[in-house]
């Protein structure tokens, strides 16, 4: 069974549900652990906010946004890239692995920037939540209240998330992460192809070239089968090889040709 980029196996709602319920319980536990406010004083939510932000950030890191998910899905957790170390003679050569270290470093930097966004989102969400709690006043922890509390928390989290991820800066970061992950994947493929060539194995590049030829041939066949006017009108490429399938050419065939010519 394939694993989703967020670690949720398709169809295995039970695990995703348990994980979400556990986080819900964490929220409630943190809420219940708050010291009772002094009568007449507003409750102090500082430590609750810090706990929430911490839990939240942890979750965000585990459930990356699409750009980071792309990096993970294409097989590039930091440090996982196989390739020659660009030192010594390898540093000067134009080997297929050239540039991959730069790409890896770039990916690391971009992921660090993403983490910064997660921290900001987590802290902003906690801040928003505290403001709503303050406005709502003291709350008993009944089942209904607990679920209402959770709904408020999700609302705050989504608001904080939307405020950050809709910015041009975040969008650019997402695209850069995706582009860097793709560039790394292609660099890895170049290395694999070099190995395949050395071992006399067919490469993706060759498979693609063949596929293109098959595609063109299929199109020509379909056009001819359909007798499309476009196909008839289209200029035929000049044939480099024989116009028809090669026929046996020998003394007997030559004699036949000569007889036909006489007739």
């Amino acid at each position: 069974m394939t694993q989703s980029a967020f670690g949720i196996p398709p169809g295995e709602s039970g695990e995703a549900f348990t994980a979400a319920a556990a986080r819900f319980f964490d929220l409630l536990k943190a809420f219940a652990a708050q010291p009772q406010p002094t009568p007449g004083q507003p409750p102090d939510w500082t430590s609750f906010a810090a706990t929430l932000a911490g839990q939240f950030e942890q979750w965000l890191r585990a459930a990356p946004a699409a750009g980071a998910a792309f990096a993970a899905a294409t097989g590039f957790p930091a440090g996982a890239f196989p390739g020659a170390v660009p030192i010594g003679p390898a540093a000067a050569s134009a080997a297929p692995g050239e540039g991959t270290w730069e790409l890896l470093m770039k990916l690391g930097q971009l992921q660090a920037q993403l983490t910064q966004h997660w921290s900001e989102i987590a802290s902003s969400a906690a801040q928003r939540f505290m403001e709503r709690l303050r406005a709502a006043g003291p709350t008993d922890l009944t089942p209904d209240n607990a679920l209402a509390l959770y709904e408020t928390w999700v609302e705050c989290a989504e608001e904080a998330y939307a405020a950050s991820v809709r910015t041009a800066e975040f969008s650019r970061l997402q695209a850069q992460l995706t582009n860097t992950a793709m560039a790394l994947l292609l660099a890895q493929r170049r290395q694999a192809e070099a190995l395949a060539r050395a071992w006399g194995l067919p490469t993706r590049e060759e498979a693609d070239a063949l596929q293109r030829q098959i595609r063109e041939l299929r199109q020509q066949l379909e056009e001819r089968a359909a007798g499309s006017p476009a196909a008839a009108a289209a200029p035929r490429p000049k044939r480099k090889g024989p116009a028809k399938p090669a026929r046996a050419v020998g003394p007997r065939a030559r004699r036949r040709g000569a007889r036909r010519g006489r007739r």
């Binding site: 398709p10 459930a63 679920l147 969008s171 650019r172």
Partner: protein, 364 residues
């Protein structure tokens, strides 16, 4: 008021019991099936299969109706439209006595990485249309395009106006760069040159993209909400069916996905009138068929403004747009999906019987 500590303990015991009950139900629901209406494959090309739904028992064929072809998106599975009997749009359409067909794009593999949008349109959708027209001995059919399938349907209707008598679009964007389109913002600077070269994109990756548009609602809240609703077997089975659909996304052929990202999201060609497919310009003004445009007012994937733009660009004189008060997925499985949406489609089609729509399609 009881002691806070006692209250909290009672709460955790209560919630713990709810979690256990829900979890047990989820485990029981593992074997749920999806897709409820009987159908048979009637045509195929490559990975694309055309299904014909069998008429419902006791529902006579309605005279004066055209066959209806449903064209779903490439990025999701079409069985969401026939997930289970009580929410099945297909079943409701069959109930109106129509012949209903569905395009299933299948699972592209590495052999399909060079498949282009035009291949999906002309060989896939076009092949389905031609098969149905030949079978029913009719000149035109009704086309229902859903989401990205709606975009393909619009293109097809523009390029082959004689084959499409009327067009219905569900959550179909035309303007891919509206300010509230987060997906569009995120892919605007993606390097499509690289995208074309990396090969097919796994469905899981697109899922990650869609889920990360609203991660807390889509990956947290919906599960916790199971605790608030009734944990009866049916509700949980419905939930699991939806989950299966959400996480069951097909891979995307590299070339087609690249073209979709570049031409639609990055260059907004459909709206700008610069889209060319197979060497032909896709002019939305050529869409003169009666057109019903249904979209969700709370859609986080295809914002309402992206769909509303359709009315400004199509050439149809018989154009009806309607916002439904739900979200993107709600268009397929919510209460609205059960009642309002099929009803709107059926009554709209019934108001445009064979003779009438043909006259309207070619205004003097």
């Amino acid at each position: 008021m009881s002691e806070p500590g006692v209250q909290a303990s009672a709460l955790f015991i209560d919630l713990g019991a709810r979690v256990a009950r829900t979890l047990a139900r989820l485990r029981e629901a593992r074997g749920v099936t999806v897709g409820c209406s009987a159908r048979r494959a009637v045509w195929s090309h490559g990975k694309t299969t055309l299904y014909e739904y069998l008429p419902l028992a006791g529902v006579p064929a309605r005279p004066g109706t055209r066959p209806l072809l449903v064209c779903f998106a490439l990025v999701n599975r079409p069985y969401i439209l026939d997930l289970q009997p009580d929410t099945s749009l297909v079943r409701r359409l069959l109930g109106s006595g129509r012949s209903v067909y569905l395009v299933d794009w299948g699972n592209p593999d590495e052999g399909d990485r060079l498949e282009e949008l035009n291949d999906y349109l002309e060989q896939g959708l076009g092949g389905c249309v031609r098969h149905i027209l030949a079978k029913h001995r009719t000149a035109a059919l009704d086309l229902l395009g859903v989401c990205q399938g709606g975009v393909l349907s619009l293109c097809y209707s523009a390029l082959h106006p004689d084959q499409v008598a009327s067009l219905i679009t569900l959550t179909t964007p035309v303007d891919f760069q509206t300010p509230d389109d987060l997906l569009s913002k995120w892919v605007r600077e993606v390097d499509t040159g690289l995208l074309a070269r990396i090969g097919n994109v796994p469905g899981e990756l697109l899922n990650a993209l869609f889920l990360s548009l609203m991660p807390f609602r889509l990956m947290q809240q919906k599960y916790v909400r199971l605790l608030t609703g009734s944990a009866d077997r049916r509700a949980v089975e419905d939930f699991v069916r939806m989950e299966r659909w959400i996480f069951d996304s097909p891979p995307q052929a590299a070339a087609a996905l690249t073209q979709f990202v570049r031409w639609f999201y990055q260059e907004n060609r459909l709206m700008r009138g610069t889209l060319e497919l197979g060497g032909r310009l896709v002019d939305l003004k050529a869409v003169r068929q009666p057109l019903l445009n249904l979209y969700a007012s709370g859609d986080h994937i295809v914002p309402p403004a992206a769909c509303e733009a359709m009315g400004r660009y199509v050439g149809s004189r018989d154009y009806t747009a309607c916002a439904i008060d739900t979200g993107h997925i709600g268009m397929y499985v919510s209460r609205k999906a059960r009642e309002e949406i099929p009803q709107r489609i059926i009554s709209w089609l019934e108001a445009r019987p064979v003779g009438r729509s043909r006259r309207r399609r070619r205004p003097a």
